[in-house]
Amino acid sequence: MALELPIYMDYHATTPVDPRVLEAMLPYFTKRFGNAASRSHRFGWEAEEAVGAAREQVAALIGAEKPEEIVFTSGASESNNLALKGAAEFYAERGNHIVTTKVEHKAVLDTCKNLEKHGWQVTYLDVDPQGLVSVESVAAALTDKTVLVSVMLANNEVGSIQPIAAIGALCKERGVLFHVDAVQGIGKTDFDVRAMGVDLASITAHKIYGPKGVGALYVRRSKPRVRLAAQIDGGGHERGMRSGTLNAPSIVGFGKACDILRHGWREEAARLAGMRDRLARHLTSSLDHVFLNGPALDSGKRLPNNLNLSFAYVEGEGLMMAIKDVAVSSGSACTSASLEPSYVLRAIGVDEELAHTSIRFGLGRFNTDEEVDYVGDLVVNKVKKLRDLSPLYEMAREGIDLKSIQWAAH
């Protein structure tokens, strides 16, 4: 099969809708368009039934005890907001302290910042050079005022898989609620809310080959029964936790996407790891001064599809432009609105210089070995070309210690 350009290797950002998912969704836009809250006619019943089936599919993927524990939302940002603000508001009499990490997604970090304005204390835990938080540091941060611990399942930039089960056990023991932002991990690594002692979990469809604009919050119903203060008031949908007419077509697609993963994610994860390792070998054997950011590829602590490399002496955005037929992302300042390099790379101790040279490859369901080889060749070729253009590479080769130079910061 001929290679088609551009090539998408940014599956941490979003994924295309799987054709099987789209097929499942289509009837719910036109023929079966009913409002799942309409109790008085067939259109409503049909939609309600479809939403119910999807609820079961989502629940099954994450090991929820009952489908009713799934609250549909507009996506993981909303789920994270609902989990943190909803729990903070409902359990305010229990305390005023939240524990999280420095490498969470902005939807968690910014929600925490917002809660701090309302009198909450938040501990942002450091992570190690692999991006991992230690259970001991979580334990040490807990106080008698701690209401909630929020830790992501896997990091979106460097793929670190956090020790969720151990933190879950700790939280159970200490009687603290445990929220997991599971967006990047589900379908790529083990995740089971019951086995891991998770009370609240945020997930989204568009990272697992479902549509954008739909997600869910898992809210445990027993041992303990978790309550939340609703953040959107209205018709009392979703057990009163999230009002708003259900987005039935997208929810059906979300369910289908979960069902596909449940029946084959281990095989898919193994295939992705194979392609990822092949790309890594290709790049590191053909180029010098390439550094892996995050956990070792064979550590079992890294998402199977994640590869984050720093190509020293070549700025990330410059490289992305040179490989513009390949969609990847960079921790370079130039790609962010803030002009600050990635806070995740900074948190794991990557030098600012190297953070500017980082590229994140995120492999996914529709990538092929041919694409991996093409991307490998292209990146090698362009890194060499850009190093010929780089005054830093020339200076490094002349033996000049770049750190000894007085650079004028600008």
């Binding site: 700025e315 432009m321 513009k324 500017h356 780089s390 005054p391 830093l392 004028a408 600008h410």
Partner: protein, 132 residues
């Protein structure tokens, strides 16, 4: 934000990439920026007897706009007198390359590199005269 054609052209076919002998008394070198900020430009000029820039070379670590700004600067420098070269403004580069606001600092850096190279050349000449 899509890249514009002129920036792409300069990054795919950068003009005047290379290194001049920085010990040559007729060469001025400007090294500006910082690796920790994500862009470093080295711009060099070789000045002939009449004060005319005979050759200009650059190497840049940075994004596409930084590479394009310095590549364009070398094109503009060749054949100009030092006084003319000094009058190149970052806004001229912004206009020519159609840089968006978030990339204006790349053009500022290129202007700094030009000024720094001219400065370096003049200092060398002055110290030679002082010695001679």
């Amino acid at each position: 934000m899509a890249y514009n054609d002129k920036v792409i052209d300069h990054t795919e076919n950068p003009r005047n990439v290379g290194t001049l002998d920085k010990e040559d008394p007729n060469v001025g070198t400007g090294l500006v920026g910082a690796p920790a900020c994500g862009d470093v430009m080295r711009l060099q000029i070789r000045v002939g007897d009449g004060g005319v820039i005979e050759d200009a070379k650059f190497k840049t670590f940075g994004c596409g706009s930084a590479i394009a700004s310095s590549s364009l600067a070398t094109e503009w420098l060749k054949g100009r007198t030092l006084d003319e070269a000094e009058r190149i403004k970052n806004t001229d580069i912004v206009t020519e390359l159609n840089l968006p606001p978030v990339k204006i600092h790349c053009s500022v850096l290129a202007e700094d590199a030009i000024k720094s190279a001219i400065d370096d050349f003049r200092k060398k000449q002055a110290s030679r005269r002082a010695q001679g």
